[in-house]
């Protein structure tokens, strides 16, 4: 903690001294995600983009760096901090059967995913490997495959387990024919996430490897249920996503909503962890001037970080879905300008 000292000296060299300590926070890392997991290199070039979110399914045979995504290795080796969201969710509807594959000479057979999530009425419910399957050790091959590929990357990443548990569980889940409520699903997920983190931590991991669990952060009770201290002691970051979807939404209130719940509800271990905003975005339908909204983000983050509670360390703009920048050039210019200012150093 730096300290500034003032000495007052009079004509006879009598002195008086006083000092005050202050804190300079580390710079917040401005980050990005480009729709479809596409190569963001061109969008990030020349700007102060130091963080990136990526999404992969454990069901995919190509997780690190991903199919035809050699650019991720280039970005990671150039110092961009990578947040890899690894999901039990199965992305492909067509091929959801069991898998047999060999990892480093060991043959694994993983059964078909047995859970459905995001059970929104009227929607097709995505399949996912079940929390029961994880706890039974049936998914260990998936983790071994991911780890083997990860070790070839040459740098450490944050592994974010699940994208948004609240979105996954909001309408309950079903595994092997048994239905679970939202709260039951949260409890089962905590067990499964603990299992996965412990599985990885027991192995040799690249230096700089960190872990977090993914939440949209839109439901206070779910956020509390999914952040018990026992799990947080194994994780390195808190995480939630931030979207402006109403003309009245301000950056300060949107970024602080989940933080305030965390400060009120979570324990000291959880609150000792910095925050990784894996996604933030401004929905153009309600907020046509995305650039103006983006311009208010640095001051909002600086203010939140000056308050008590967990430090917001990375904010990755989600240029996709709700956050799609339109027009893209103006939005990117606003992001570059924002990330050039404090607290982004």
């Amino acid at each position: 903690m730096p300290r500034v000292t003032v000495t007052v000296r009079d004509a006879t060299s009598k002195t008086a001294t006083a000092s005050v300590a202050y804190t300079v926070l580390p710079p917040v890392l401005g980050g990005y995600y480009l729709s479809g997991g596409a190569d963001p290199t061109a969008d990030m070039a020349g700007g102060n983009f130091r963080s990136l979110t990526q999404y992969r399914s454990f069901a995919d045979a190509h997780i690190f760096p991903g199919y035809q995504r050699q650019w991720l290795v280039t970005l990671g080796r150039s110092g961009v901090q990578i947040n890899m969201v690894l999901e039990l969710k199965h992305y492909g509807a067509s091929d959801t059967g069991p898998q047999t594959f060999t990892v480093d000479g060991v043959k694994y057979t993983v059964p078909a995913p047995a859970m459905t999530i995001q059970q929104r009425p009227g929607a097709v419910w995505p399949k996912a490997y079940g929390y029961g399957q994880v706890l039974a050790g049936q998914c260990d091959g998936l983790f071994a495959r991911a780890l083997s590929q990860y070790r070839t990357m040459g740098f450490g990443v944050n592994i974010q387990l699940a994208s948004e548990l609240d979105t996954d569980h909001e309408f309950g889940t079903t595994e092997a024919g048994k239905a679970y409520t939202w709260a039951e699903s949260d409890a089962r997920a905590v067990q499964a996430m603990t299992y996965i983190v412990n599985w990885f931590r027991a192995k040799g991991l690249p230096q700089g490897t960190t872990f977090s669990v993914g939440l949209g952060g839109f439901d206070r009770a779910c956020f509390r249920r999914t952040h018990p201290e026992a799990l947080m002691s194994r994780l390195d970051y808190l995480q939630w996503n931030v979207y402006a979807t109403s003309a009245g939404h301000t950056a300060l209130e949107r970024f602080r909503r989940t933080k305030d719940w965390a400060v009120a509800d979570l324990g000291p271990v959880a609150l000792s962890r910095p925050v990784l905003i894996a996604e933030w975005g401004v929905r153009v339908v309600e907020i046509p001037d995305q650039a103006a909204w983006i311009a208010t983000v640095p001051a909002a983050i600086a203010r939140l970080n000056a308050e008590r509670g967990p430090f917001i360390a990375r904010t990755n703009y989600f240029n996709s879905g709700w956050g799609t920048l339109s027009p893209k050039a103006a939005g990117l210019a606003a992001l570059r300008a924002a990330y050039a200012r404090p607290p982004y150093g």
Partner: protein, 89 residues
């Protein structure tokens, strides 16, 4: 001679890198006085020069600001009892 007094404050005390920081210094010394001497010269005939004034400081005070992080603090203002310094976080 009395000893000087000083106290310093910053508000807030937590900053993001690149932000401006302000330091307020309240200081004084009971002996410290600022005097103005006004001098007029008169000859034997009673002719008087125009008055000239000079200022004298009794027991002048000097302020030294150091920062163990190596940051440079520059003076923004100084009233003689309250000084404000600025640095970049």
């Amino acid at each position: 001679m009395a000893a000087p007094t000083v106290n310093v404050s910053m508000n807030p005390t937590t900053y993001s890198p690149g932000e401006q920081m302000l330091l307020t210094v309240n200081y004084g010394d009971p002996d410290n006085q600022r005097l103005t001497l006004t001098i007029t010269v008169a000859d034997a005939q009673g002719n008087r020069s125009a008055p000239v004034s000079v200022t004298a400081v009794i027991d002048p005070l000097t302020l030294t600001v150091t920062d163990d992080s190596g940051r440079t603090w520059s003076r923004v203002s100084d009233s003689g009892s309250v000084a404000v310094y600025r640095a970049v976080a």
